[in-house]
Assembly symmetry: C2
DNA sequence: CTGAAAGCGCTTACAG
DNA sequence: CTGAAAGCGCTTACAG
């Protein structure tokens, strides 16, 4: 149905080799006259080479897969944008896949992406990437970079941020304000990032000589609802004057919980989040949070993948981006 | 490198025809014994057919393109999710493309998607789809459905919501509360949706016998910043007691403007938005807004495209989904 | 400077 | 019940 290279060749009265060479700018030895003529015919007929046929023969599909837990989370939407920008500059297109935190769905998608012969996949896995899973990925025979995920060991070709420092910064800020009873909202499935943030929180407590109390750490889903439930549980059972939520969605949940329990932020409870999604700035009060360079994470992941594809070798190590504490209005000294 | 159908055939000691037939479940006439053996070999070697080769021959790539202005806008993130869910159920994968409201980028992407031989594209165009552009799309020879966009004429194969009713509902609510000086924040590039919402606003004014005043309508970008700037301009120049922002991001901008100008919502100014993105619920005060079934829009678009692909005919008309006014705390009677 | 031919990995009539 | 062969639309040595 669509016009093919054969048609163009016939119209131009040359061989398909010639057309192909021109198409791929390998036409050093072809007559200028011919080139011009063929080009104009291509133009005129709005001919576009079939990427499938091309991919079949070159194994270059100019296609990559991006696998995230949920595009609806602002954090991943922003990352996705970074990935797409970084990739499209190099002529790559992206298959978007949501795993919905379902590891089976994730594996299923990896299989489909392989079928589609993507050149690589950028993966923000549902789980922490264990050695086993890492091996599994390697076996798949596609290049990949881990996004916002630590691999448990041979920490390579990934992009992460300094989560531990972020957790430290958050807790330090609260400690400096004079808080001593600081709750922490985490997630239970053992995502490394969250563990690291909790680790940083503990580091800060230790540095300020405040004993770590397990009862101050409550887990829930990394969503608004999850944060709200966890915060209610924490506030009802313990006397905390501040809460460090290990992501911004949970922090929003704390705001909700505060409304329901009749507490004011920051007068009754100070709140610090993590991520700095764009809405953090539009909450009332504006959220104090640890900023990750979200868009940049996406771009770097794209850049790393391009590097791997072009050089056929993996990066030596995981790249660690810096974080920064953004102080706004959700924190103050305890009364 | 990857294992092929030929390898499987050789190992199983059958022809590649047989393997292919089994792969495609067209094996009515093949011995059970053979089927089992081949299946287990496929399993064992983790063989997956090359989608490129398959697509080349069948022209079924099981692939579609989704083109949105900006995935970072919650509205489109939610739609994207709906599209992906609706499509993946039918075994389709989606290429995600952000046009960033750049019509050239949009056309560029359509070309690339064509090259990739997507079976169809779901398009939320930057512009209102004019007759000319509609023809252009048709010429591309890919099936497409228009998402959240009216085609100016032969209104077909699209999904939209009842924007005019939505605008009416928003204004009616404010009028019922007793407001008579109601500002309206719109967008200037002439996006149909916004025009329709403005239309509904005028309808309501007319019905309540309130004269329409052009000076109450200010335009800006459909973003938080755009809404903020437009609101500041409106509030400084006119005495309005309420503002209808034609999307939620602009409404958030009004909140910002209110802070900057020392106005309280809803005491000094009532605000109504449009979309009901999830954050509308977490603003302070919670935003009164016109809810669109965002996720559903995405799913329907996917369903429509599947329908078109399976039946090789376009839907007779644009599907119009209903909207609903969600009254929360950003509106009250004027003082 | 240009073309004929092989081949990428599949599917699908067709033949037996 | 199974296989040989043509062909999808390209690219790329190789030959001239």
């Amino acid at each position: 149905m669509s016009i093919t290279i054969k048609d163009i060749a016939k119209i131009a009265n040359v061989s398909i080799t010639t057309v192909s060479l021109i198409l791929n700018n390998k036409c050093h030895n072809i007559g200028e006259e011919t080139i011009k003529r063929v080009r104009s015919i291509i133009e005129e007929h709005n001919y576009r080479p079939n990427a499938l046929a091309r991919g079949l023969i070159t194994s270059k599909t100019r296609t990559i897969g991006l696998l995230v837990p949920n595009i609806t989370n602002q954090f991943f939407a922003e990352i996705t944008k970074g990935v797409e920008d970084g990739l499209s500059e190099h002529g790559y297109n992206v298959f978007l896949c949501n795993s919905y935190n379902d590891i089976d769905k994730e594996k299923q998608y990896i299989r489909v992406l392989k079928e589609q012969r993507v050149e690589g996949v950028i993966l923000s896995s549902t789980n922490t990437v264990t050695q086993d899973y890492y091996s599994y990925l390697k076996e798949q025979g596609v290049a990949f970079v881990l996004l916002d995920r630590h691999a448990s060991e041979p920490l390579n070709n990934g992009i992460i941020v300094d989560d531990r420092k972020g957790g430290f910064l958050a807790a330090q800020h609260l400690l400096e304000l004079g808080h001593r009873k600081i709750g922490c909202l985490v997630e239970s499935t053992g995502l490394c990032n969250i563990d690291e943030r909790l680790h940083g929180y503990k580091d800060a407590l230790a540095q300020y000589g405040v004993p770590y109390e397990e009862k101050f750490v409550v887990s829930g889903e990394l969503t608004i609802e999850g944060g709200c439930q966890a915060a209610i549980k924490l506030i009802e059972e313990q006397i905390v004057t501040a809460i460090f939520a290990t992501n911004d969605l949970m922090a929003i949940g704390v705001y909700e919980a505060a409304i329901q329990l009749g507490k004011r932020i920051p007068e009754d409870i100070s709140v610090v989040g993590f991520d700095d999604i764009s809405f953090a700035h539009y909450l009332t009060p504006k959220l104090t949070t640890v900023r990750q360079p979200i868009y940049e994470i996406g771009r770097r992941a794209a850049a790393n993948l391009i590097y791997i594809l072009q050089n056929k070798l993996y990066m030596p190590s995981t790249e660690v981006l810096d974080v920064e504490l953004i102080i706004r209005n959700s924190t103050s000294s305890p009364r």
